[in-house]
């Protein structure tokens, strides 16, 4: 199997605070990686470096064979120009904890925006594709609604459809259900599970252990800017080797 995401000794600091202290991680094409870890351990920051929303200080990340945010020449990495970075981002879908839908645009326009303006697709085709995506996430009748008129679960499903509209090779989810009322978590996880079963490569940061057990090919446990352990869900979740993993799991289970 080929590697979709290759992260090598990534370091990142915010001022004096070192948030990522040397992360190595490989995600194979078609697989689901779930990242667990306590709040503040650097999970969001790691996810954001993968589409260059956050720049790394050291190390490198490649997605589908190309370096993210940089061009290599000899032993130097040159930061890419904005336009090239934007093009790379269109191949990576990102779903935020707070949905971040555009409140002044209808659901349909939220989804159509990027394909039309970033990928230069004809609007007609983009609209057709968007309707199919809405159907897929079970919201075919909400095309003309505004985001604020939807429940949290519906908004997050629209956000997933919006990310899918770019036909990304990789999907990143940053705690997609953490902002939802408990009874709405299931509908969003169902959509993500569906994508997993269809072979979408994704990295999901979540506290939903049941979801990790069911869907993940690999579970990664992070703490204090490092990967403490990783492996098959059966191993990491049921037979954790590290004390820190054990104490974290005992708190969330």
């Amino acid at each position: 199997m080929t590697v979709m995401v290759d992260i090598r000794s990534v370091h990142k600091s915010f001022g004096p605070l070192e948030v990522l202290k040397g992360i190595d991680l490989a995600v194979r094409t078609g697989e689901v990686t779930v990242i667990l870890g306590p709040s503040g351990s650097g999970k969001s920051t790691l996810l954001r470096t993968i589409n260059h929303l956050e720049k790394v200080d050291r190390g490198r990340i490649s997605v589908d064979g190309s370096l993210v945010g940089y061009r290599r020449s000899g032993d130097k990495l040159y930061e890419l120009r904005e336009r090239e970075i934007l093009r790379q981002r269109t191949r990576i879908g990102f779903v935020f904890q707070n949905f971040n839908l555009f409140p002044h645009l209808t659901v349909l326009d939220n989804i159509v925006e990027a394909p039309v303006s970033a990928l230069k697709r004809p609007r007609k085709d983009a609209v057709e594709a968007a309707r199919a995506l809405l159907d897929r996430v079970g919201l075919a009748d909400k095309a003309d609604a505004y985001p604020k008129q939807l429940s949290g679960g519906q908004q997050q499903r629209v956000a997933i459809a919006r990310a899918l509209a770019l036909e990304p090779k990789l999907l990143l989810f940053d705690e997609p259900t953490s902002a939802l009322d408990p009874e709405l978590v299931g509908e969003v996880l169902d959509v993500i599970k569906d994508l997993a079963h269809q072979g979408t490569t994704m990295i999901v940061v979540t506290h939903e252990i049941g979801f990790a057990r069911e869907v993940a090919d690999t579970v990664v446990f992070m703490d204090d800017g490092r990967i403490v352990e990783q492996g098959a869900p059966g191993d990491v979740l049921d037979r954790p080797r590290h004390e820190r993993t054990r104490s974290f799991l005992s708190k969330v289970l």
Partner: protein
């Protein structure tokens, strides 16, 4: 409290069976009624005194209300307001962008501009521009007095003044947009330009429009200050007439009525603009 009353209050209040058919009598608001009546009476007295006071010379007001010179003045006031608003907000938006940029030089220059032009009274600024020939008798080989005509001075002075305030209004609007919106747009690969025009600005407009509407009305009336440099706006036009005819009050009434009419129309326009930018917000659901 005696044990007797205590027993009474703690017992279930005696609500009859048909509780849901009881009529609700709202509290009587006597004070409010008296205040309303008093205010209406005073208002009535004021209006009758204005209408019946011969000194207002409403006939003269009617004669001049649509006279050529007044309409010419009104027209100048209107287009000057429009030009100053457009140029002022264009410059103000640039200043706001500079203030929010990562470049420390741009940030300081923007800050300094706003500080300076909010500090100088507009009247002082107009007089300075009007007399700039004293500082620079010639600019680019042209006599400064020919370049800085009264109307040019009015446009320059009012625009520079307006821009300082517009910069703060626009900056406030941009800051009111959630940071996550920009990140989402970046993650979707939208270009800088597109993020600005399609995502940030329309959302910022919600907080920009109300103060901008205020500024527009303020500018409309504020342009009357240029009568000091003899630009023939609405106010100056009526002044020209009453200097000749001595009908001061009725001609000031002509100006007052026109300012009121235009302000009302603008207020109505603002209502619709606000409605437009409130699309998708919870409050209009």
């Amino acid at each position: 409290m005696s044990s007797d009353t205590l027993a009474k209050t703690s017992a279930a209040p005696d609500i009859p069976e048909q509780a849901d058919s009881l009529r609700i009598v709202p509290q009587r608001r006597l004070g409010q009624w008296t205040a309303a009546v008093a205010v209406l009476v005073l208002l009535g007295l004021a209006v009758t005194s204005v209408v019946r006071n011969k000194a207002f010379q409403w006939g003269v007001v009617g004669d001049y209300f649509t006279s050529d010179s007044v309409l010419r003045g009104l027209w100048l006031t209107l287009w000057l307001t429009a030009v100053v608003m457009v140029l002022g907000f264009a410059l103000g938006t640039l200043l706001a962008a500079a203030r929010l940029s990562a470049n420390p030089v741009l940030r300081s220059v923007s800050w300094g501009y706003v500080w300076l032009f909010r500090s100088i009274p507009i009247l002082v600024q107009l007089l300075l521009w009007f007399n700039i020939g004293a500082l620079y008798p010639e600019l680019l080989g042209v006599k400064t007095v020919n370049l800085f005509t009264p109307i040019a001075v009015a446009i320059i002075g009012l625009t520079l003044h307006e821009a300082a305030y517009a910069a703060e209004v626009v900056r406030g609007g941009i800051l009111s947009v959630d940071r996550g919106q920009i990140e989402a747009a970046q993650a979707l690969g939208l270009s800088r330009w597109r993020r600005w025009w399609r995502i940030v600005l329309p959302q910022a407009m919600r907080s920009i429009v109300p103060p901008a509407g205020n500024m527009l009305i303020g500018t409309l009336k504020g342009t009357s200050i240029i009568s000091v440099i003899a630009v023939q706006d609405l106010l100056f036009s009526v002044q020209l007439v009453y200097h000749r005819t001595y009908q001061v009050i009725p001609l000031l009434m002509v100006a007052t009525l026109w300012y009121t009419v235009v302000t009302s129309v603008l207020g109505l326009g603002q209502y619709y603009v606000e409605k437009h930018y409130a699309r998708g917000s919870e409050r209009t659901r």
